[in-house]
């Protein structure tokens, strides 16, 4: 059975004009991209718009994709840059002021593959949705989407140390919410979230 093409091979082909190669990339990462955006932007319609804009920006930048670079962090870095731009813009204020809920960025229906664990997934997603910024995005990239710390740091445009710190704190927040949702006892007060930088 032939091996699937690497992301980077698809990027090269897409840069050379192969539409089907670009389409393969969209198919491969479309859901992951939308999932990452949903953890940053509560407005689902805005998420769809942003996802399309990210792919258009990827398309425009194909020729500039460096040989030897990794596609996945590049894709997410474009996404997070766009989110930052949107958050600074009027568009954010207009479209999210009415809908934004603090620390609550739930998944869309069908975002995750339930694999028969619907209730458990609902609790996991709910707990993750309550992890505050900027920890939520970091945890989602690393633990849900499977990026390495290095890839996540590239995607989030922050240092490796910062990403690791954010992931740790995000995991701690997640654990606390998850335990509550699962009806588990509170964590030991000696551990858990301590001081530290984001």
């Amino acid at each position: 059975m032939p091996q699937p093409q690497t992301d980077e091979a698809l990027v090269r082909e897409a840069a050379a004009g192969a539409r089907d190669a670009f389409e393969s990339l969209v198919g491969r990462y479309g859901s992951a991209l939308s999932s990452a955006l949903r953890k940053q932007v509560p407005d689902r319609h805005l998420v769809d718009d942003l996802a399309q804009e990210v792919w258009v920006r990827v398309y425009r930048s194909l020729a500039r994709f460096r040989a030897g670079a990794s596609f996945r962090p590049w894709l997410f870095s474009i996404a997070f840059n766009l989110v930052r731009d949107v958050r600074r813009s009027r568009k954010w204020d207009e479209r999210t002021a009415a809908s934004e809920e603090d620390f609550h960025f739930p998944a869309a229906p069908g975002e995750y593959d339930p694999r028969g664990r619907v209730e458990e997934q609902a609790a996991i997603d709910e707990a993750l949705a309550r992890v505050p910024d900027p920890f939520r995005g970091a945890v989602h990239l690393v633990d849900v989407l499977g990026l390495t710390y290095l890839e996540a740091s590239e995607s989030l445009a922050c240092s490796l140390g910062t990403v690791k710190s954010r992931v740790n704190r995000g995991r701690l927040f997640f654990r606390d919410h998850y335990l509550k949702l699962s009806g588990e006892p509170e964590p030991c007060p000696g551990s858990g979230l301590s001081g530290g930088t984001a």
């Binding site: 897409a14 840069a15 050379a16 004009g17 192969a18 539409r19 670009f22 389409e23 969209v26 198919g27 491969r28 479309g30 859901s31 992951a32 939308s34 999932s35 769809d48 996802a51 399309q52 792919w55 258009v56 398309y59 425009r60 930048s61 194909l62 020729a63 069908g110 975002e111 995750y112 593959d113 694999r115 664990r117 997934q121 996991i124 997603d125 707990a127 993750l128 945890v139 633990d143 849900v144 989407l145 710390y149 690791k164 992931v167 740790n168 995991r171 701690l172 997640f174 654990r175 998850y178 335990l179 588990e184 964590p187 030991c188 000696g190 551990s191 858990g192 979230l193 301590s194 530290g196």
Partner: protein, 369 residues
């Protein structure tokens, strides 16, 4: 280690990033502290459950929506005639992906066409009034329309022989874009040929290109317009010349004029940032044509041609040159060395010779080997 601040190390422990000493200290603390042991266990289980979340496959409808947006972007670029990065002549292309596929048809037994194209960009819309599309007699007979001209990213691409030609299909959309005035230079360089023949066809692609490639020169403008797939298995006999009367060909039709005649010139076409050179094919004829192009007034072209000559020389396994091939932009007095005289390229050291004369001298020398 103590309970206070142990949580800062949870991820490092979980991810296996603690040093051996720190891991031992961490584990030793857990062994002695039930509260932290339970707390870390809860952390570990929570993260493992979090990692069990799996993003569903991308719905086909979502992919289609994205591709529609990307296609719209691609067409938007064609309409606006974007030229891409500034300040870089070698990469004067739309910032979308460039399409640079072009292979030469296999021609069983016949002389193959070697096509050298000096180019600096990607697909660009060009009014056909700027292209020399002829009916074989030299008179343009197509009404102006806009087609995409393939401008490969590479500075020089020598299309290898004995391979299939794939030329993309003309887009249906017609756009009108203002383009710079086209310059055309024809470098008259005699090419010894076998027989005289004019073939005019108007069919999309296959045969005309094959015939043109087999029997002589193909106007690049037509070649750029001709977009289709060549299938050597479908090669047929040459078409008869097209009647003068008849409706204007559709956008999908291709007119290719090929002419083979004794001493037919090598045609050099130059458009804004785009040069093309067609010869009958073998390195023998390409090299003299390149030599002729050393007279180009554009230093970038000269530098590129020099590089190509150098490369060809190496490929011919000629003895190392005592000095590299040099060209003087727009001037005379170029000295070259012949690979076929036991050295690199033919020594043409007569500054008074025109490019055609110098090439004739080269050809004579080559033929005499």
């Amino acid at each position: 280690m103590n309970c206070e601040g142990l949580g800062d190390l949870y991820s490092a422990r979980f991810d296996g990033e603690l040093s051996a000493a720190d891991r031992r200290a961490f584990d030793a603390h857990l062994d002695g502290c039930a509260g932290c042991r339970k707390d870390y266990a809860a952390f570990r289980y929570a993260v493992e459950d979090l990692r069990s979340l799996e993003v569903a496959p991308t719905p086909a409808a979502d992919v289609a929506a994205v591709m529609a947006a990307v296609d719209a972007e691609a067409h938007s670029r064609v309409r606006s005639g974007e030229r891409g990065e500034r300040g870089d002549r070698r990469a004067r292309s739309a910032s979308g992906p460039s399409r640079s596929r072009m292979l030469v048809a296999a021609l069983g037994g016949a002389a193959a066409m070697g096509l050298l194209t000096l180019a600096f960009g990607a697909w660009r819309p060009v009014e056909t009034s700027n292209l020399q599309l002829t009916d074989g007699s030299g008179a343009p007979d197509l009404k102006p329309r806009t087609v995409e001209v393939w401008v490969p990213r590479d500075r020089i691409v020598e299309v290898p022989v004995v391979q299939r030609v794939e030329v993309p299909v003309v887009e249906e959309r017609v756009v009108r874009v203002a383009v710079p005035v086209v310059e055309e230079r024809v470098v008259e360089v005699p090419v010894p040929v076998i027989e005289e023949r004019v073939v005019q066809v108007e069919n999309p692609l296959q045969l005309e290109l094959e015939r043109a490639a087999a029997f002589g020169q193909v106007a690049l403008g037509a070649l750029a317009v001709a977009r289709a797939r060549l299938d050597e298995r479908e090669a047929e006999a040459p078409h008869a010349p097209r009647p003068d009367s008849g409706p204007e060909p559709s956008r999908d039709e291709v007119r290719v004029a090929s002419a083979e005649r004794r001493d037919a010139p090598v045609r050099l076409r130059r458009e804004d940032g785009f040069l093309s050179l067609t010869t009958r094919g073998s390195t023998d004829e390409i090299v003299p044509a390149l030599i002729a192009m050393l007279q180009d007034p554009d230093p970038a072209v000269v530098a590129t041609v020099e590089g190509k000559l150098f490369e060809l020389r190496r490929r011919l396994d000629g003895p190392a040159a005592a000095e590299p091939v040099r060209g003087t932009p727009g001037g005379v007095g170029t000295q070259l060395k012949s690979v076929f005289r036991g050295g690199p390229f033919a020594i043409v050291s007569e500054p008074e010779l025109s490019p055609a004369e110098r090439w004739q001298a080269w050809w004579s020398d080559r033929s005499a080997r």
